[in-house]
């Protein structure tokens, strides 16, 4: 077992330093790059925090939808192959619900400020 602080705590501490102390000293392209970097750190924190629960739910949905078990990647590859071969599609019961849930979980980590995501989260 690894000791504390956790990766999330470490990244947040670094991000806070970059935001509060480094950002005000930069301008132009360097300031832009720092913003991109901070966005990346924030994304990593969201992923470390939420990935496990999202993945577990996705595996469960996929196993049920596909009628088989496997790793998350294996199951996604199988779903992709079945859609490409027309065995499955929007008409398959449960598929639309599954891809919506999976996509919402991805956006919650990738781009929670994306306007389409916010609209769906707040009204869906």
């Amino acid at each position: 077992m690894q000791d504390q602080p956790t990766p999330v705590e470490l990244i947040n501490a670094v991000a806070e330093f970059l935001r509060a102390d480094v950002a005000p000293q930069l301008s132009g392209h360097a300031a832009f790059k720092l913003r991109v970097g901070l966005n990346a750190l924030d994304l990593v924190v969201r992923q470390l925090t939420h990935e496990a629960s999202g993945d577990a739910a996705e595996v469960e949905r996929l196993s049920k939808l596909l009628g088989t078990s496997g790793s998350l990647e294996e199951l996604n590859r199988l779903l992709s192959a079945r859609i490409a071969s027309r065995e499955m599609g929007f008409q398959t019961p449960g598929l639309t619900d599954h891809v919506w849930k999976t996509t919402m979980d991805k956006l919650a980590i990738d781009q929670p400020n994306y306007a389409s995501y916010r609209r769906e989260r707040d009204t869906g």
Partner: protein
Amino acid sequence: MSIESPVKASVARWFPGATGIDRLAQLSGGASQETWSFDVLHPSGNIAVILRRAPSGYGAAPGRAAGLEAEAVLMQQAYEAGIPSPRVRYVLRAEDGLGSGFIMDRVEGETIPRKILRDAQFAQARGVLAGQLGKVAAGIHALDTTRLPKLRLMTVAGEIDDLAAEHKSFDWPRPVFDLALRWLRDNAPAPSDTVTLVHGDFRHGNLIIGPEGVRAVLDWELAHFGDPMEDLGWICVNSWRFGEIDKPVGGLGSREDLFAAYESASGRPVDVPRVMFWETLGTLRWGIMCCGMMQRFRTGPDHSMERAMIGRRASETEIDLLRLLAPRRA
């Protein structure tokens, strides 16, 4: 600034009376293409210009690109036809030692979407841009194809095949992209009766905007012959709305404004279902382009954070594809 002396020598060759150059600065550059800005000094008044070039050794354009020489011809023809476009001053030759490319007038204005969509100085432009863009698109589609350079002819089926092949090459499962590809194949319209020049990348970032509206259309790199409705669909892709998701035309205005202006300028009716098809295809295309950025981040030579982070924007197109193809509220 290793290109300063060849640029100086080149200017002396094609601009009689020029006494030198000033303020040479690189604006952007990837592995294969660079953009530079400089002023040509002349006793009767300096002119501000832009150099777009592919350094020697990078001359071979990627598969889809029209090539810089073709771009120069397209921009010049657009300029002559009265389409907002910079005047092309010079096309590079071998003796310039600068690779391939061209020099055009620098058009002042804004290309950053968030500024165009939010800043007070563009308030008036925002009210008229959707219509202006319809008129500009009509102008592009009216250019005489017999006078244009050789460009690839793209069909709906060809575009879907290209996207499918690229998606497959990434070897990463994305069920939403598979659903979208299948929908596109099942709903592909018949080949277009009308084939025109298509700009191919008609959207924010490639438009210079002033307080009064469109000043220039740039980046003709993806120009081709094909269905004119493609340009109208591409500019409505949600990825170019930058948060203003209820204003389909670049976050600026309605499809109705775009279509009405297009119809009145072109005299040709807009095929709305066809435009919607291209919007869906365009959404998938941007998603696949995001995946391509991630691929280039991994394999190099550009390992930048920006590219890496664009890779994590492919999911934005997944939610947009679902909103188009499987909306949760009817």
